[in-house]
């Protein structure tokens, strides 16, 4: 079930009312969450449910075994290794099997003139498999590392893995944050729920008004870009940046807002990344739940930033290679990851990996010259990385760059320009609100202190999103990150 669908608009209020009025009590509410989440997920294909149930069961059971063998470190190591292997094997089969076979086939053909293509299978990629698999892995690792006691309640564990607001595209929650929330009694909180609704609304605005409209332009011109000018090609990659940001952060806002309606606090996934002063800062603000997952479960175990600079560089490349592969079974995603690894390594080696305490232009309206230059450099580097991300092959990346630098530089494309301007307006709103959790957290100053002004804004945004939804209804408007 998509957030931007009529089914979800009906589904959410029903589940909300049942949750607070019928299924009272923590345990019953957890049962309802599992049922609702399985309906939500099974709406795509009921067969996916078998997979998520199996993943949940394996991780739950491994948690119990880890507790049973408390004090026997070797057995515990085996149990967690077995569970990690099972989860990664499932992910590997469904997401990477054909990728590896295809590449193996190319290798065999070139080395031994032998065809392996018969091994390729028709595999449907279950929606959001990477997200819930990582969440399941987080539980096993955290229990193994004694950050969290194993849960004995299978319902609360199944609810933790399948919690519908963040099931298919994150934020990838840690067991240490989300699981205890299923173990506590939840109480309805008016302020939290109202803010959740605002955050959901802002998420819908970003998705329906910006991302889906940008998608129409990007899909039309990407792969058909031979005749575009250098400027238009550059703007097109900026537009894709806006599209993917509004699509993914829009989803995260809806997920976080929706979870708040049920009394849950999910972790922040985006923190206005386009206002970053460096690539490391960008990655502290973009898809935070995944970046920190890789940091905690891969980068730190590899040694992290301890050791000499070359070890740090090696670890960065490993993490970003894996991160690229996580995004998709394709070489261009791996290259995208390695491109970022290179940038991060350069920042590291040059010692400009500053951890900023505050948002850019803190307590000021505009950034100073240095901050502007830093943001411009970061944005340009990010724009180039979107070219690698959005292209379907590395050959297409080459073509894109070739045309960008060899076609006449100046030349206007009305559609691209129009949506870059519209998206920039949205970014201005985000700039003003950059020290808030989301853009609809109004300051308590006039005119926002008047209820009718706030309501007028809500109604205008709902109506604008509705119009954007109906005029784009024929297009494929699923969230980009579902494919990951």
């Amino acid at each position: 079930m998509l957030f931007n669908s009529l089914e979800f608009i009906i589904f959410l209020p029903i589940v909300f009312l049942l949750y607070w009025f019928v299924f009272r009590g923590r345990r019953w509410q957890n049962v309802l969450i599992v049922i609702a989440s399985y309906i939500f997920y099974g709406w795509w294909d009921w067969r996916f449910l078998l997979l998520i149930a199996f993943t949940s069961f394996c991780s739950f059971w491994s948690g119990l075994l880890l507790e049973k063998y408390e004090g026997r470190r070797r057995s515990q190591k085996l149990i967690s290794a077995a569970n990690i292997t099972i989860n990664l094997a499932i992910l590997g089969v469904f997401k990477y099997f054909n990728f590896f076979v295809e590449n193996l086939d190319v290798l065999f053909r070139s080395l031994f003139n032998y065809q392996l293509d018969w091994v390729t299978m028709k595999i449907i990629l279950p929606v959001g498999i990477s997200f819930y698999t990582f969440q399941a892995l987080s539980y096993t690792i955290d229990v193994y590392q004694k950050k969290l006691p194993a849960t004995h309640d299978i319902i609360e564990f199944f609810a933790y893995i399948s919690f519908f607001p963040q099931l298919v595209a994150g934020p990838i929650e840690r067991a240490t944050n989300l699981l205890p929330q299923f173990q506590r009694q939840r109480h309805f909180d008016y302020a939290k729920s109202i803010d959740g609704c605002r955050q959901m609304l802002w998420g819908f605005v970003k998705k329906l008004l910006i991302a889906d409209n940008c998608a129409g332009v990007v899909n039309e011109y990407w792969g058909n870009f031979q005749d575009l000018s250098g400027v238009s090609l550059f703007m097109l990659s900026i537009l894709f940046g806006f599209q993917i940001y509004c699509d993914f952060s829009g989803y995260s806002d809806i997920a976080i807002g929706c979870a708040r309606l049920f009394g849950f606090n999910l972790m922040r996934n985006f923190d206005f990344p386009f206002f970053s002063r460096s690539i490391p800062e960008f990655w502290r603000r973009w898809h935070i739940s995944l970046t920190t997952w890789f940091r905690d479960y891969i980068y730190f175990p590899l040694g992290g930033s301890r050791g000499n600079k070359w070890i740090v560089v090696r670890n960065t490349y490993i993490v970003w290679g894996v991160s690229g592969l996580w995004h998709g079974a394709s070489w261009h995603f791996v290259c995208w990851g390695l491109f970022h690894a290179t940038l991060l390594a350069i920042y590291n080696l040059l010692g400009i990996n500053t951890k900023y305490e505050h948002v850019v232009a803190y307590n000021r309206y505009l950034p100073n010259l240095k901050e502007t230059a830093q943001m411009a450099v970061t944005s340009i580097l990010i724009v180039f990385s979107w070219i690698i991300f959005r292209s379907e092959t590395m050959a297409q990346v080459g073509d894109y760059l070739y045309y960008m630098f060899t076609n006449p530089f100046f030349g206007d494309n009305k559609m691209i320009r129009k949506w870059v301007i519209w998206s920039s307006l949205m970014m201005i709103v985000e700039w003003i609100q950059r020290d808030k959790q989301h853009a609809l957290q109004f300051p308590s100053v006039r005119p926002f202190s008047y209820a009718f002004v706030r309501w007028a804004i809500y109604v205008a945004l709902i109506c604008a999103s509705y119009v954007a939804y109906v005029v784009n209804i024929e297009d494929d408007n699923t969230f980009i990150y579902f494919q990951f």
Partner: protein, 306 residues
């Protein structure tokens, strides 16, 4: 909780009311391209039928297979009755093709009903074309919508609005698809020669219970009012017909089993490919004359004593 629910409900009511107004605004926006296209025939046919309200006439109800495939002048000469060809676009859907003009039919009229092959909701309730055509040319026909038709049409309102916005600078044009091509009967009368680019439709299955139920309704309602209904097959590109003959035959049998037999052999209305203009349903000028001759023979057989 109560405060929260009241606030949310209030916001939903306000937003819903405004969205309703937006929908009406979008629904009633006119498509300038459609204004200058052959789709104007929907309104012209309506005007002709109003003018002939008290006269017995032959009314052709179909999609564009009849607009681009019938010479009504020949029918008029053969039967000495006024002819109104309402056939404009298959995307209007069978239901509205009939309902738009149903009230203007009278006892003694002859209705030639030859909808295109196809199945599913779109065949019965139409596509975004329906909203475009009605909003631009005949908005009063929305009063004929059933609830099911509204539910189906809702998803096309936004698409119509987007297209209308895109076409806001459209200018008058010439050619078979222009309003200039419509003759006094409602046929497309613009010289059309065969084009080599026609590709066959893929007709997978034609069995559709809801559609057949509607055909039954048309059959019953016309019979009750003393209107002669001739349910004839549409014309179809020869090679397309041969490719899908089994499905079409199965469909004909299914109709017969449901008490609404086709009154002519579908194969008789499948002509050589060279007689088709640009789609498997649109005929060249020569093809339209030939198809009309076949139709006149069938009509003469079926309307003996008229």
């Amino acid at each position: 909780m109560k405060r929260f629910l009241i606030k949310v409900l209030l916001l939903v009511i306000i937003a819903f009311t405004i969205i309703l107004i937006i929908n009406v605004f979008m629904l009633l926006s006119k498509d300038r391209f459609s204004c200058y296209s052959h789709e104007r025939n929907v309104a012209l046919a309506y005007e002709r039928l109003v003018a002939l309200r008290d006269t017995n006439k032959i009314v052709i109800i179909a999609g564009s297979n009849a607009g681009f495939g019938i010479n009504s002048r020949l029918i008029k000469q053969a039967f000495h009755m006024p002819v109104v060809n309402t056939a404009t676009h298959g995307g209007i859907g069978v239901r509205m093709q009939f309902e738009m003009y149903n009230d203007l039919l009278r006892e003694g009229d002859v209705v030639i009903f030859c909808p295109e092959y196809g199945a599913g909701e779109a065949r019965l309730y139409g596509e975004s074309t329906l909203v475009r055509i009605l909003s631009t040319h005949l908005p009063q026909a929305y009063s004929k919508f059933s609830l099911a038709q509204w539910v189906h049409a809702l998803k096309y309102i936004g698409i119509h609005y987007r297209e209308a916005h895109k076409h806001r600078k459209s200018k008058e044009f010439d050619g078979p698809y222009s309003a200039k091509a419509i003759n006094e009967y409602g046929d497309i009368e613009w010289k059309r020669a065969h084009q080599d680019t026609i590709s066959c439709y893929n007709i997978s299955s034609l069995i559709d219970k809801e559609l057949v139920a509607y055909y039954k309704y048309v059959h019953a309602t016309t019979k009750k009012r003393g209107i002669r209904l001739l349910f004839l097959p549409p014309t179809l590109l020869g090679s397309n017909y041969h490719k899908d003959a089994a499905q079409i035959e199965e469909w004909a049998v299914y109709l017969k089993q449901n008490g609404i037999p086709l009154q002519a052999e579908p194969s008789k209305y499948a002509f050589h490919d060279s007689l088709y203009y640009d789609t498997p349903y649109h005929m060249t000028s020569v093809g339209a004359d030939l198809r009309t001759e076949v139709m006149i023979n069938d009509m003469a057989r079926l309307l003996k004593g008229l």
